[in-house]
Symmetry: C2
Subunit: 201 residues, 2 copies
Amino acid sequence: MIKIPNLSLALKTQIETNSALVEIAAETEILREGQYIKVIPLVIEGLVKVFTKHEDKELLLYYIQPSESCVMSFTASLKNEPSKVFAITEENSKILLLPVDKVSHWIEEFPDLNNLFFQQYNLRYSDLLETINQLLFDKLDKRLMDYLKEKVKVTKKNPLKISHRQIANELGTAREVISRVMKKLEQESKVKQFSNSVEIL
Amino acid sequence: MIKIPNLSLALKTQIETNSALVEIAAETEILREGQYIKVIPLVIEGLVKVFTKHEDKELLLYYIQPSESCVMSFTASLKNEPSKVFAITEENSKILLLPVDKVSHWIEEFPDLNNLFFQQYNLRYSDLLETINQLLFDKLDKRLMDYLKEKVKVTKKNPLKISHRQIANELGTAREVISRVMKKLEQESKVKQFSNSVEIL
DNA sequence: TGTAAGTGGTGACCAAGGTCACTGTTTTGG
DNA sequence: CCAAAACAGTGACCTTGGTCACCACTTACA
């Protein structure tokens, strides 16, 4: 039985018998801007990254962690609108795919599912607002540190195996810039770099 | 009887008999960061501006227009969390104040209200994402033009009576910068300036 | 095992926008 | 009607971060 906090047994049974559980390899694109979809993902295991992108420049928006869903898919499928964001698996993941037509009924029938989606919306509202505040108020050194801390927390790995290029992509900037700021942070003893990996101190 | 699209008569009656309709003068602060609240506003008439702020620097996030509500208030009051944003009336406004304890019941009882809040969350998600995209991908001249067009649409006034200082505040920048960019836009015949007002061409 | 691809480091330079200082004009309230 | 406050214009300068051109090192895999 799938473990998702705060869902009733009746609902979990419904979900299990009506949804597909798929395993998706790391680094697989699962949603792109403009795409129409008919399925709502519920992450069981692994990690999904959601980001915005425009002509080679992109920005990490938030992660979808186990027990979480994707509100973009929720509205995109219920209202038949195209997605405004991209999503990609960052780790090998197990994801439940809930069929839209079922979900629209379940929402009325099961207050706990209704609740879950309200919680998800609220969470993403906070995530996006946080992103705005960082873009607007913080310099790159702070943004980089916050990014690294968040990444350590979410992947539960320290040191992180990650390239300067990927960091740059996720922060919407250039590799050289990360190189520069990273060096500064290392001199300030806030991080330590090995080959291809970064440890937060 | 209050006119709000897509709400059942039964619900509207409930709302009318259990909520206070208040008139709030323009430029009145109605919500600040860190504040706890026990009431959910539904704008009937007028216009409410929602923004983020940090040490004198602020940024317009979105407007709450008639028939719309405030999802920040929704979660802040239902989950007893402090607000993360500021809100201020931009015009004289009539606002229905729904008591939280009632709303939590109405949401289960009336699918149309449940629906309204999902729509509002979706709308704000889009608003915040749009804000992020503009901050990240657009230069100030484009951001300024978009801001002015939006303002004209939302206030239904062209020319707009507005100072460079206020524009600067809402875009998170400085007055001198707006002065500069405004001059450029005027030379490109995209706007026309009179004393204390701006017309979009 | 050698070569191509990916990665990181660095200096020089550029562009956008933020800051400062100061001026003149317009608006407003007593 | 006049003084104070708010507003707008502008040149000089600074800071941040983006761009470019390289070079050197590591890693993967053919």
